[in-house]
Each structure stands twice: as C-alpha cells, then as structure tokens.
Symmetry: C2
Subunit: 148 residues, 2 copies
C-alpha cells in the first residue's frame, strides 16, 4: 500500500475527528458568547488575570500562559481595552506593561464561569466514556508541543 495515499477509512477518520472537535468546541463557545458577550480569547485573558495574577499580570506572562504570541495578545488587548474589560499600565522599570482586569471584566468573568462550566459538561464531558478519557489523555501526552 502506497504510503503517500490514504484509504477511505483513514480520510474519514480525519474528517470525523475534525468535525467532532468543531461541533463540540463550537457549541461551548457559542453558548458562552451568546450568554455573556465574551469570546474564547476574552475568557482566557480574564481567567488568567484572575487566577494567575489576582487581577493583574504583565503582558509577556499573560501571553506565555495562553500560548499566544505577543502580537496576537497586543491586538486582542487593544480590543478588550476599548470595551472596558481590561486596562494597560506601563511599567517604567523595563518598558513592560501591566494588564489589569476592570470591574466590568470581573463581573463578566463571574457571569461566564458557570456558563462555561455547564457548557463544557453538557457538550463535552457528558459525552465521554472512561475509554474516551483515557484516549484523550494519552494522545495529549504523545503529541505535546516540544519545548524548544
């Protein structure tokens, strides 16, 4: 069998996997954004500010914790700042920037937490067997990003 070609079954598996992810992930995100007006990125930012930094983090740490590059985060924070979810304050120590969560951000996050939790439970966790869980865990281990 030619290694350069995929069988019908192999290709179908790839499409099924993509489709499943997009379905589940899309449902969770849609549920959150419809109920809270937050996007996935917004939630990630607010969540880390709250949990990791007790409300404030320097931009680079935030980017690292989200596995985002600095440009992506910079653009995203610009939009979030405009909506009053976060603030940016220059740190004259070393040209860094301290990102802080606002009251608006805090309250949006509180609203979002239970909704996200329930969405993940309904659309994802409730669909999984113990076998699926084992599979996901091992696959994640096997395909982790190699730290440079």
């Amino acid at each position: 069998m030619n290694k350069r070609e995929l069988s019908q079954e192999e290709l179908q598996l790839w499409y099924k996997w993509k489709g499943t992810f997009n379905n589940i992930f899309g449902r969770v995100i849609k549920e959150m954004s419809e109920h809270t007006g937050l996007s996935e990125g917004d939630y990630g930012v607010l969540d880390r500010l709250d949990l990791l930094g007790d409300g404030k983090l320097r931009q680079q740490e935030l980017a690292d914790s989200m596995d985002w590059d600095k440009s992506r985060l910079s653009h995203h924070l610009t939009r979030m700042e405009k909506r009053g979810l976060v603030t940016r304050k220059p740190l004259d120590a070393d040209r860094g920037v301290l990102v802080g969560i606002t009251d608006v951000g805090t309250s949006a996050l509180s609203d979002a937490r239970p909704i996200v939790a329930m969405a993940i439970r309904r659309h994802f966790l409730d669909q999984l067997t113990d076998l699926d869980i084992a599979s996901i865990t091992k696959l994640a281990e096997k395909t982790k990003t190699r730290s440079p």
Copy 2:
C-alpha cells in the same frame, strides 16, 4: 458536588483535548501551506471541485459539501479567483454560479494531495492506537450535527 463547577481534572481534560487538536491540526495545515501555498479552505474547495464535480460545481452544492455558509464561500472564492485558482461563471438558468477549477488550481491540488496525505499520516494516524480510533469513531457518531 456542584454541577456548576468543574474539577481540576475535568478542566485539564478539556484543555488537553483542545491543545491536542490544535497541535495536530496546526501541524498538518502548516505543512501543507508551507509546501504549496494553499490554505485549508483552498484545499477543501479544490478537492471537492475535483472529486465531486469533476472540475466544476455550482456554488450552493460546493457550500453544502463543505458545510460552509454561502457568505463564507463567496468571500473565499473571491480571494481564490483573484489568485487564479478557480473561475466563476453565471448560470443564466437560475442566477446560480458555476465554480470551475483552473489549470493553476488543478496543479496546486496535485501538488498538495501527497503532502496532505503524508502530513495526516505522520501527525495524526501514526499517533493513534486502535482504541483511539474506536473512541474517535463513536464520539463522532454521538455528537454529529442534527440535520435540520
């Protein structure tokens, strides 16, 4: 246990699952786009034109087969047309549009096929055990989009 909250393990599972998908999927797409200049969307369009329509399909059929809405496809075709990958021809029968693959598109597709196949094999299929395959298959069945 409060159903509105997720345990650490549950949350970790969600993140692992997202991370695994993004890693594998990102690797496959990056490999294709670096070698051929095609995006995932480009490949999908060309692939379906070739396989389903022998080089031409009306826009709505194309959109349906990709599970894209008409707006998304319209925008994407505009970009692909500009690059000479496809053509659009009005069907005066019913205001439909016939999308056709060009020589440039055909040759780009031929280049991409083996690369995509090998990338899917290396980054995805080769990582799976029989157990993973069973899990993926069943989960796909369970979470399929409801048709209407």
